[in-house]
């Protein structure tokens, strides 16, 4: 029986309660969104006592499901003002799953704003809160080292930590989760979750799952059979089995630049002359030359192994091999072509606890103001450091692209619901524009990610440059992605399912064999729909309407080279994406 651990930061009380029966089919994003919907007044101050901060493994967390260890972090976002689920890899989710914890919910707010706390959950389930004021202002790497010194040598534990950005309440702050080697370099990056964690005085969470086994399966044999099929599909497939482990997500840089969809110099162009120098192929060659590691998983149980470590010229660990989004945000979007400069910016964000997507996009907006030049990596690093070390421009950068654009009089501000757009220009890839505009999360590249033949109704005839069919596809992708986020699966498992039908079958077989509940395709899509219903209704009640489900005007007026095209999906189409909500809400008994 899974349970919820509640920690009230106002009085530091800890209670344990059974997961309510109405939520027994929920995990991950479904659970965080259901909790936020139920417990947070939509007009609450995100940094006030009425917001919650929820950490939840997926429904399959801790079960040995391949790639099933993703963590969902939920709250009302201080950046977007919407409900938010921020998703991370790392070791914490599987640990929580093994402990039988469906979610840790932090409520309230300490009376003393200078207090810093750490929650420790031991393998026997004992949970305690301790004072760690001496860590105030410490970077994620320093806190991680301090925790290491406090744990027994033979312990197995994971950490969730907050950097100084979150402590300072910055809207671009994220939360760090430890990876397989214990580095705090996996991020619940988007939406300012670090600021929520900081508002609750929480500096760290340590979770020990030493000696713990997977939770019981309803049908162990069926589960073992299904994970074998799933694992094989992941290994066989060209994307998950070869492309990603070899090049990581950064293989997209050359491809998107060729397609004319790589936002360059603050979304002013779609191809970057530095694509070859910063792409995954070059990144891999450099890492190999310097003796670094080019393939590992972000959590144990990952079969895909798409991550790598970037090392400096002397072969020392610098940061996790910057992912596509970071290589874009601090690369093409800023006009920077040097991977070492990008890695330094990535490391600095990681230590401070800042979302690299938001910060790169922010830096590009700052460059567009003329304050520093596009392409100047050293100036970008100095500007980033000024957020904490003084100098220009200072803290304003840490509040994200929109705040920075307004402060410096930049008219081209690429945000939706106040969150910066990620690494695909919607004019060259119209479908992702629909997702950016309509997702409950604000501009989000992972919200509509999961392409499976079961949900592909458009028969593969979609033209990325045309509006036809994009809204329907985005709807189905968003539902399927919300489903994966709720199961705790890495969205990269979606790649094999496009070509290997057994892989999708394996997903529902694993869910059924573990839970003993029915999980056919309809039930899986229902899970995704219910998740989105909670989110949409929360946002509606928080005051968001159709006008917020739009891209910034300049995407409709400024033609993007090289295709010289604008965003063309109609407002009516955008408004149709969530048309399933009223009916499903009624079935769920919420309006």
């Amino acid at each position: 029986m899974r349970h919820i651990l509640r920690v009230d930061m106002s009085d530091l009380s800890i209670t344990k309660e059974d997961l309510p029966a109405k939520w027994e089919r929920y995990g991950g994003r479904a659970l965080t969104s259901a909790l936020v919907f139920s417990e947070v007044p939509p007009d609450a101050d995100p940094l006030g006592p009425d917001n919650v901060l929820v950490f939840a493994p997926g429904l399959l967390g801790g079960t040995n499901t391949p790639n099933g260890g993703r963590l969902s972090v939920g709250a009302k976002s201080p950046l977007t003002g919407t409900i938010k689920e921020s998703n991370a890899g790392g070791q914490a989710a599987n640990a929580l799953g093994r402990l039988g914890i469906a979610a840790i919910v932090f409520t309230g707010k300490p009376a003393d704003p200078s207090a810093r706390y750490m929650l420790t959950v031991e393998a026997d389930g004992e949970a305690s809160v301790s004072r760690v004021d001496e860590w105030a202002g410490a970077g994620n790497y320093a806190v991680s080292d301090a925790i290491k010194g406090m744990r027994p040598d033979d312990d197995r534990y994971s950490t969730i930590t907050n950097g100084p950005a979150g402590e300072a309440g910055l809207k671009a702050s994220g939360i760090a989760v430890s990876d397989v080697k214990g580095y705090p370099n996996r991020f619940a990056g988007r939406g300012g979750m670090g600021a929520v964690m900081g508002s609750k005085g929480l500096k760290a969470i340590v979770i020990s799952d030493k000696g713990l086994k997977t939770p019981e399966h309803a049908d162990k044999e069926a589960f073992s059979a299904a994970i074998k099929i799933f694992s094989n599909a992941l290994r066989e497939h060209a994307v998950s089995g070869q492309g990603l482990p070899t090049y990581g997500t950064n293989v997209l840089t050359n491809i998107l630049s060729e397609a004319g969809g790589l936002p360059t110099r603050n979304f002013s162009e779609g191809s970057f002359e530095g694509a070859e120098a910063t792409g995954g192929e070059t990144q891999r060659e450099i890492i190999l030359e310097r003796g670094g590691d080019v393939s590992h998983g972000c959590h144990s149980g990952c079969v895909i192994q798409c991550s790598r470590y970037w090392v400096d010229k002397d072969g020392h660990y610098k940061t996790k091999g910057p992912e596509y989004e970071t290589v874009w945000s601090f690369g093409a979007d800023c006009g920077i072509s040097d991977l070492d400069d990008i890695a330094e910016l990535d490391r600095t964000c990681g230590d401070f606890g800042l979302d690299t997507i938001e910060m790169g996009a922010t830096m590009a907006v700052y460059m567009d103001s003329g304050a520093i030049a596009f392409g100047d990596g050293k100036a970008a690093l100095a500007a980033l450091k000024s957020v904490f070390e003084g100098g220009e421009p200072g803290k304003v950068l840490g509040d994200g692209a929109e705040a920075t654009g307004k402060a410096f009089g930049v008219s081209r501000i690429p945000v939706v619901k106040h969150q910066a757009l990620p690494a695909y220009d919607p004019r060259a890839v119209q479908g992702i524009g629909v997702t950016y505009a309509t997702s409950t999360m604000g501009a989000d590249h992972t919200a509509g990610y999961t392409v499976a033949t079961e949900i592909l109704k458009v028969g593969g005839d979609l033209d990325p440059l045309k509006p036809e069919g994009q809204a329907e596809l985005s709807r189905n992708l968003q539902i399927a992605t919300a489903m994966l986020d709720s199961l705790g699966l890495c969205i990269f498992v979606a790649f094999p399912v496009l070509d290997i039908p057994e892989a999708f079958t394996a997903i529902h077989e694993m869910a059924e064999a573990h839970t003993g509940q029915k999980w056919d395709v309809d039930a899986l899509m229902q899970l995704g729909k219910e998740t989105l219903v909670y989110e949409k209704l929360f946002n509606d009640r928080a005051g968001f309407g159709p006008a917020d489900d739009r891209l910034p005007e300049f995407f409709k007026t400024d033609e993007l080279p090289p295709h010289n095209i604008t965003f063309q999906v109609s407002d009516a189409d955008l408004d149709s994406v969530y048309d399933f909500v009223p009916e499903v809400a009624k079935e769920m008994g919420i309006q």
């Binding site: 070899t246 060729e258 995954g280 060659e285 992702i432 990325p464 992708l477």
Partner: protein, 113 residues
């Protein structure tokens, strides 16, 4: 040449971006791949002037083409048409043996990678 095609070229000491000449009447991306010694099984789709097609797509002087191997992550494989291109290829064009070097007229240049 991207992804695995890129690595195969650099490992063989060959450039990943080349300019080649094509016959006046044009050719196909497939023929160019064969002429360059690229493994057709390692090509899912081809960008021709920034739009994705399958390898049978015609190519004329002045065109810019880019070969994309299987392995594109994200929904972008689908959005950009690489999935569709790959499906068409496996249905219509079984892999051919490499031809000889005769029959190619020299004509206008084109950049490609």
């Amino acid at each position: 040449m991207f992804g695995f095609l890129h690595s195969a070229r650099t490992e063989a000491g060959l450039p990943t971006t080349v300019e080649i000449e094509v016959p006046e009447e044009g050719t196909t991306a497939r023929q160019i791949a064969l002429d360059l010694g690229l493994d057709l099984d390692m090509i899912e789709g081809v960008f021709v002037n920034r739009t994705v097609y399958d390898v049978e797509h015609p190519v004329v002087g002045g065109d810019r083409i880019a070969f994309v191997p299987p392995g594109t992550p994200g929904p972008h494989r689908f959005y950009l048409g690489l999935y569709r291109a790959g499906q068409t290829q496996s249905e219509t064009s079984p892999r051919a043996d490499r031809p000889g070097q005769d029959g190619l007229d020299e004509s206008s240049d084109q950049p490609e990678d």
